[in-house]
Amino acid sequence: MKEKIKILIIDDEEVVINSISKIATMEGYSADSVLDANSALQKISASNYNLIICDIMLPGMDGFQFLTELESKRIATPVIMTTGYSTIENAVKSLYTGAIEFIPKPFTVDEMISVISRGIKYSSIMKLKKSNDDSILIVPCPAKYFRLGYSGWMNKDHDGSVLIGATDIFIKTIDQIKKIELLGAKEKLTQATPAVKFETEDSLVHQLYSVISGIILARNERLISEPELLEKDPYFDGWIYRIIPTELEYEMKLLIPCSSDRS
């Protein structure tokens, strides 16, 4: 099965292509690479890829334009964005434009392996979902929720605080959770930066990005003893942090309303 999985790497730097290729090959995937987005589009039309890893700063068409182009061509291959210009804006914008993951350069081998593994899983779930339309494979997040990319959700509570958590599909893209590492109360979260660490049975470490910025009011202590809560009820009992948002209005502009998932 693994032999068939093909990854396309788009980056204008040889050393980055080599690094990612090496990681992918080591993990048993086949890796292909191009130096710009236009040749990538040609490659995609010629053969199917399970996953695309794309740089933002590219000669000619940049990563964002590439994402828009894919959408207009109805190409559903999931894209992981990466860039040396690793700002929060770029991360949020990538996720808003349709990338499933954002990994800032320079990344460690382990970070890349985790992201690729999630991407592959996401890709296969989506394929499965497409082939049998009727069955509910994943639970979509409630209509009034907002999500950052596909992985994290947030919900405004009545008292002004905000609950954040992981989406069902994110949990499904990772292996059985072995350990959850949470930040403590009063710690500061910044949008699109790591907020939770999951250690899984396949000995990978997955990081969940914070959906918005804020100060942690409370964390869901139950998760530490019962990580399966995340799987059972990801949108209610499986919440992760309750936070006081600091830049809610501004940051919500680049979140995707979950209501848009139910068309």
Binding site: N18, G84, Y85, I88, K105, P106, E247, Y250
Partner: protein, 631 residues
């Protein structure tokens, strides 16, 4: 050529030249007439004197003549002629023979009728018998180098007693018997005239020189020096020295000019600083982004390959240890680059509705311990009715935090006072509000980014006047009129303004300029109403209802005053520059430049006033109602 240009190219020298020429002319003419009239008076005096003498001689010789005592007459004439002032005394008979003379050798000589003594009467064919005194007087020279001689002819008329005298010398029908010719040397008079002339010339020359010097001195002092100083200042400013100040200003127009110049340069310097800062912050952000991008790619390689090596050398603990150092240090580099990007990131504020007093209180809470530690007395003068403003609370808090820490540092260990004051101020919208978007009725943009007025893109319109057609660029600042006219136009003609793209008229036919009654233009400002103004540009009438209705632009002003060491003037304009620090190793030097960037992003301003040894005040101004946020 260049020398003349150099000389006549100077105002002072021109002035001195013109004044000197005038003085020379006036004094010259005056002296000339003075000398001439003096000589005339002198000569008239001499003439009168000689005439008197001549009459006396005639009268005193009359009796002896009647007695015909010729020796006696000669004797008298000899005696009179001995007077050194008298050149000669002669009596000539009607035929021109010299009968008597103070120079006896001349006696018996005949004079031609053309001789100078006879010419006055004998110029006509028939001799004149009577002449006024002026014509009987003559001035002549015997030789070209001898002194001038004045002579008076005094005719001796026939009298009864002459013809009836015993000698019967003269017939009764003769009218003129002869002439008495007295000549005297004018050498003394001439000498006096010459001396007068010399005196006059000397006086004139001295006056001219003195006036020249006096004028020169004052022109130099009142004109030359200030003008030179102004020229010097302009040169300095042109060379980029915006700190140049003209000192020793006088209290006249040039002093006022200098003052305005200083003022202008100060303003220019401030604007320049702000512009410089924003450009620098922007470029620094770009630089950081560029550096981050460039460095992160190779770091990716280092990190990946060293991780691979780690995996492949699990049996070599020594190597693992070394590789771990590489990984660790690369991760550290990653954090440094991330910091750089965070710095570049502060360019976009995340605005919400905030209470400045509250934000300041939060910042104070953070530095509270430091205040106590440094024995700093904090004075809060908050305006309790301060309205909320649209701003990024975190960034604004960072601004105050930085300013407090700076103030505490400036106060040092000996204690002092830190005063925080908040207040509301209003500034008129006119002159500070910029038109950033403008369209014609067909929504063609009128904004001309190519032609900037005051650094801002102007509004371009087609202008037609008297058959001329061209373009006019309007000042984009509401209430400011630095328009640029591409063609010469007639203010009284029928001016038409139109969209440069579609030619649709921008004149509002339904309204007239309330000031001059002429046509007005009406330009749409998307989402912000219309801007109207006098289209004949005869006056400065302009109206922008949307902005006017909002009234004066209100700002929240926050003053933070410390009683610390102060900032030396030479550092004042450097403090907002990135990496400028007086704290040595303790500070990164990014603090105030970051503050500047934040305030600028909020459309606010930050200024500083400081006196070494007394303290420093930072004034932060943030716009209250950001209704113009989008223009």
């Amino acid at each position: 050529m260049s020398l003349t240009r150099k000389i006549f190219g100077k105002i002072s020298l021109k002035l001195i030249g013109v004044v000197s020429a005038t003085v020379i002319l006036i004094i010259g003419v005056y002296s000339y007439f003075n000398v001439t009239s003096q000589s005339n008076v002198l000569l008239a005096e001499v003439e009168r004197h000689v005439n008197q003498l001549s009459e006396s001689v005639k009268n005193s010789t009359r009796y002896v003549m009647l007695l015909n005592q010729r020796d006696h007459i000669q004797e008298m004439i000899n005696r009179i002629g001995k007077d050194p002032a008298i050149d000669n005394v002669r009596i000539l008979n009607k035929e021109g023979e010299i009968i008597y003379s103070a120079h006896p050798e001349d006696i018996g000589k005949m004079l031609d009728k053309q001789a100078e003594s006879c010419y006055a009467c004998h110029a006509e064919n028939k001799a004149l018998e009577k002449l006024p005194i002026q014509q009987r007087t003559r001035i002549f020279k015997t030789h070209s180098d001898s002194s001038r001689i004045l002579g008076i002819i005094n005719p001796i008329y026939n009298e009864k007693s002459c013809s009836q005298a015993d000698c019967h010398a003269h017939p009764a029908d003769a009218k003129v018997l002869g002439v008495l010719d007295v000549t005297i040397s004018l050498s003394e008079v001439d000498e006096q005239i010459r001396q007068n002339e010399i005196r006059e010339i000397l006086f004139a020359v001295i006056s001219i020189i003195a006036i020249g010097f006096i004028i020169g001195f004052f022109v130099k002092r009142w004109v030359d020096y200030p003008v030179r100083e102004l020229v010097n200042a302009t040169d300095q400013v042109a060379a980029g020295n915006l700190n140049y100040i003209i000192k020793n200003l006088s209290h006249d127009e040039l002093g006022t000019l200098g003052k305005s110049f200083n003022n202008m340069i100060k303003k220019l310097d401030e604007t320049n600083q702000q512009l410089y800062q924003s450009t620098k912050m922007a470029s620094l952000g770009q630089l950081a982004a560029g550096v981050a991008h460039e460095i992160n790619n190779p770091l990716t390689g280092v990190l990946t390959y060293s991780s691979f090596l780690l995996k492949r050398t699990k049996d070599n603990p020594q190597m693992q240890e070394d590789l771990n150092v590489i990984v660790r240090e690369t991760l550290r580099s990653r954090e440094i680059v991330k910091g750089l990007l965070d710095f570049a990131r502060q360019s976009t504020p995340k605005k919400s509705f905030i209470d400045v007093n509250e934000v300041i209180n939060h910042a104070i809470a953070v530095v509270n311990n430091q205040l106590k530690l440094n024995k700093v007395n904090l004075v809060k003068e908050f305006d309790p009715s301060l309205p909320k403003i649209t701003a990024d609370a975190n960034q604004i808090q960072q601004v105050f935090l930085n300013l407090f820490v700076n103030g505490i540092d400036a106060i040092g260990q000996n204690g002092g006072t830190l005063t925080v004051k908040t207040s509301q101020i209003s500034l008129s919208p006119s002159g500070i509000t910029q038109v950033k978007n403008a369209v014609c009725a067909k929504t063609h943009s009128l904004i001309d980014i190519e032609y900037k007025i005051g650094g801002m893109p102007s509004l371009r319109m087609k202008i037609k006047s008297n058959g001329n057609e061209g373009f006019v660029n309007l000042d984009p600042v509401y209430g400011s009129f630095r328009h640029y006219f591409g063609i010469a136009y007639d203010k009284n003609s029928n001016v038409n303004l139109a969209c440069p793209v579609c030619d649709i008229s921008l004149i509002d036919k339904n309204n007239k300029c309330p000031k001059c009654g002429g046509p007005i233009y009406k330009i749409q400002i998307p989402n912000q109403g219309f801007i109207e103004g006098c289209a004949s540009f005869k006056d400065d009438w302009q109206k922008w209802d949307f902005v006017d209705r909002a009234g004066e632009r209100k700002f929240v002003e926050i003053n933070i005053t410390d009683t610390g060491c102060g900032i030396p003037p030479e550092n004042l304009n450097k403090i907002f520059e990135p990496f400028f620090s007086t704290k040595g190793q303790r500070g990164t030097g990014l603090g105030l430049s970051v503050i500047w960037g934040i305030i600028d992003n909020h459309n606010g301003s930050i200024t500083v006033e400081s006196k070494v040894g007394f303290g420093t005040t930072f004034s932060v101004r943030l716009p209250q109602n950001d209704f113009l946020k989008n223009i």
